[in-house]
Symmetry: C2
Subunit: 526 residues, 2 copies
């Protein structure tokens, strides 16, 4: 049997676009091929409250009718309403007739508004027993112990570190247990902060990998199930995955929202230097605009590093000194409430005026602002709300500072592999190597108020990702002879808690771990 | 049997505070009384991801031990971990012995991280059959058809319009069906944007109301179940509920976060005039600071109306003209990118500089900023991100503009009932009566770019609360002979959709309807 795996990148609620890309795939192959498409190909998703609207089901139904009229063999995902019940469904069509329907039974927290369905489906197709269903419902096949020749799984699997490998391992076991050829068809693309990693594959009945589609990219590929040959494929490294994932997140955010240009502030620090490199990779250098906004507390090397960043990437950039704006605001406010000493209020004015400036440029260019906050800062609230926490999408929100450094080095190293003699690396080495500082007062360093980032990030990782409390972290640190006493650990955990209200107002975070702020993690704010 | 209903206002994760208020209630009555407490009295709630931490269960267990050692009769709500399973539980204690445990079976979307429990419990207590459990699990009693003498329901019921009345009606039917005395013990207070309305009650076995605790306030009251007498109680009006609810939301946000003072911008418009009146009611006039920030586009009456508002409420207030700050920013930006025409970019500078100013005052006073956005504006994106959308908590985010007017009139009318000759009403009549304007350019009126608010709000209500699409709304409007053609309705619905990304960055909204932005409503952002 010939199976075409279509690793689509549909648009949320983009029915006619989605119909178009599905039909394009059908046209690529002959009518003896079974074309397989991901979960919710018709509507895109995450759908959230859209399931409450009749439009969703009417528009989906309209696309389904169009696909049926193509008189081809295919399996695709779509929302369907049947007798008042709303299902996340897979439809199997043979030559213009609906052959079978699988409705999702084990709903995930993202299947908001869908009703519980019947689970997986098994049918006879071209003298073979074909099973199909959603990833969440696979246990049913094991329980039913049906003999299946070919198993097709259509999915919308969210990306996070390790997920791709874990999933492959899991499905290899399943293919062996059921002794079946297994097709895993996953979508790619980004929607808001969610990433879908693609990486669709086909396994033979020994569980051997016989085909792997790329990660984070659209691809359509056809396999003959009677002629599958094992392949060997290295898993992409964590940093390779991260670079591709973040690039795709930026690209899809802008393309799907029909925004062409991105604006961001370049401080000379590592976070903005990394974000601008990713943005150029995603949108092209002609669509990224860097704004340097030095204040009187900015060091000379900051300005130089920021300029290097803009020049190395060859992007349009402007220098907007904020000194006079700062003085005017400070004088105006102090004239109303005199005799105030310089404190966090003045530090915040600088950060917020930078936001005013960036948004002015964004408005003038019809651009969107990229946020550069990392997960370490977001965790402890090291940032000014309506200042440097602003932006349309937060690219690094799920990367600890130590990972920001790692990824930056990786990007430069990859660049140097291709351009071994280049001195203009995408991310200035000085931005990577210098001690981080917010530069909101003279000589300020992050390490004045925070432990070193390797310690901070380890505390945060244990607390946020492994859900450990203070005492448990102390024990881990003692066991591994790491520096940091209970006072510091307690202070960090308290900072995480009291800054929840700030994080609630931060831009959509791009999720690359299991526990991303905003999307996955909530704690009380009062 | 004597039953004490304790309508507590616990703190999220405030274990020792919560233990204190529970023990205080026990001390108020003799040891022959059965004391009843709400769901999650020990831990407070909404707990979100806190259930992933061992602390939650260790601290809860510690409080439980303390309560057991009081050697009294009581039923209270707490998280409990049993053999690795985490339950939202009700514990019944008799003279220092655990008599029974009910664990929640039908988990709500807010019971994140809890495992599915066993449901309701029935026990013999003082020669009576006593049933107890969670509101979500009540169907079990009907299905089991047990004869129960007294039914006790412990709850954390979220407030929204109509909920109190619907709930009472529902439980009256249940009491009649089971022919049982029914105790409904609900919590009060606010947590982040969530409101718990209290209004605990007791019904006799005919379903007659025999006792009702206040709405939105702490109260402890004891009833003799053999001597219940029907009472007649008028339901509070929608506006009375709203005023109490919003006042409590502000009060608890500040008290629970240990913030004393509130800052807000006074524009002379109705939204800020209403919020400042609510803030004074919640926090006292000595804790509310009004900042007037006129620009060159502010009309004379705006400044007068804003001053009237501050003076009528007798609050500290400052006038901070933003003209010079605006000019400095505008000149700086235009010198970098010359020959720009005045457009939305300049309108936004004004709104954002007001935010810079407000946050400076908030920082200097150690105060929190109150947001004044209403639901109509939030829906169509009529507001400047990092400008007037900023603040710690958004008081009016779940009130349409027409409701803002209604509530303002109600507050003035209530004031005049007590002070019939006063000319200084809490909300200046002129703020209520004038045409609304953002005053970001000469002569600007909201109605320049939006339909009249009665039409806009009706479209929004049908779309947001009743999940109707454009065509369905057109049909309703035709049927009711309302003005507004499909073009306008389509435009409004499109505005709702394209502004989702802005709303994701807005402050925590106080929820007073079934479909509040931020908490309940999500649609895709790309």
């Amino acid at each position: 049997m010939k199976i075409q795996i279509n690793q689509l990148n549909p648009k949320s609620l983009g029915f006619s676009f989605n119909k178009g890309i599905i039909i394009d795939c059908l046209k690529e192959v002959n009518s003896d091929v079974l074309s397989v498409f991901p979960e919710l190909s018709v509507s895109g998703g995450i759908l959230y409250n859209s399931t409450s609207y009749n439009d969703l089901f009417a528009s989906s139904s309209h696309v389904c009718d169009n696909l049926i009229s193509e008189k081809r063999d295919l399996i695709f995902g779509t929302p369907i309403e049947i007798e008042g019940k709303k299902y996340n469904s897979l439809v199997m069509i043979e030559k213009g007739e609906i052959l079978a329907l699988a409705t999702k039974k084990n709903l995930s927290p993202l299947d908001i508004g869908f009703d519980k369905g019947e689970g997986v489906e098994t049918i006879n197709y071209k003298s073979q027993v074909l099973g199909f269903g959603f990833l969440e419902d696979l246990k049913d096949f094991v329980e039913k112990k049906t003999n299946i020749d070919i198993l097709i799984i259509c999915s919308n699997t969210l990306f996070y570190h390790q997920r791709q490998k874990d999933l492959l391992d899991e499905l290899v076991v399943l293919a062996r247990k059921l002794q079946t050829t297994l097709v895993f068809c996953n979508r790619t693309g980004a929607e808001g902060g969610f990433l879908f990693s693609g990486g669709s594959f086909i396994l033979n009945s020994k569980g051997e990998l016989c085909g792997l589609l790329p990660h984070f990219d659209y691809k359509s590929q056809t396999f003959e199930t009677t002629a599958l040959k094992p392949i060997f494929q290295n898993s992409p490294s964590k940093l390779q995955n991260l670079y591709q994932a973040l690039t795709l997140a930026v690209k899809d955010y802008f393309h799907k929202n029909q925004i062409k240009k991105a604006v961001l502030g370049l401080s000379g620090g590592i976070d903005s230097a990394l974000v601008v490199a990713i943005a150029v990779n995603a949108l092209g250098k002609e669509n990224v605009i860097g704004i340097l906004m030095p204040s009187e507390y900015s060091s000379d090397h900051s300005i130089k590093d920021a300029l290097d960043s803009a020049k190395n990437l060859d992007i349009e950039h402007y220098i907007v000194p904020i000194k006079e704006c700062f003085e005017q605001c400070s004088n105006t406010f102090n004239s109303i409430l005199p005799n105030q000493t310089f404190n966090v209020a003045e530090e915040n004015i600088q950060s917020r005026l930078r936001c005013v400036s960036l948004m002015w440029f964004a408005n003038k260019f019809g651009a969107a602002l990229l946020n550069t906050t990392n997960k370490s800062e977001a965790a402890v609230g090291y940032g000014t709300l309506y200042g440097d926490t602003s932006g349309s999408i937060s690219i690094l929100a799920d990367l600890y500072k130590t990972e920001v450094w790692e990824l930056s080095k990786y990007i430069n190293d990859q660049w140097l592999k291709v351009n071994p003699n280049s001195t203009q690396v995408p991310i200035p080495w000085n931005s990577i190597n210098k001690a981080p500082s917010a530069e909101l007062r003279p000589g300020q360093k992050d390490s004045d108020s925070l432990p070193d980032y390797d310690i901070l990030d380890r505390i945060l990782e244990e607390h946020l990702d492994n859900y450990r409390n203070s005492q448990e972290i102390v024990e881990i640190f003692e066991k591994e002879s790491l520096r940091a006493d209970k006072t510091i650990i307690d202070r960090i955990i308290k900072l995480v808690r009291i800054n929840e209200w700030k994080r609630r107002q931060c831009p959509t975070a791009v999720k690359v771990t299991k526990n991303c702020f905003g999307i996955d993690r909530r704690v009380p704010i009062s």
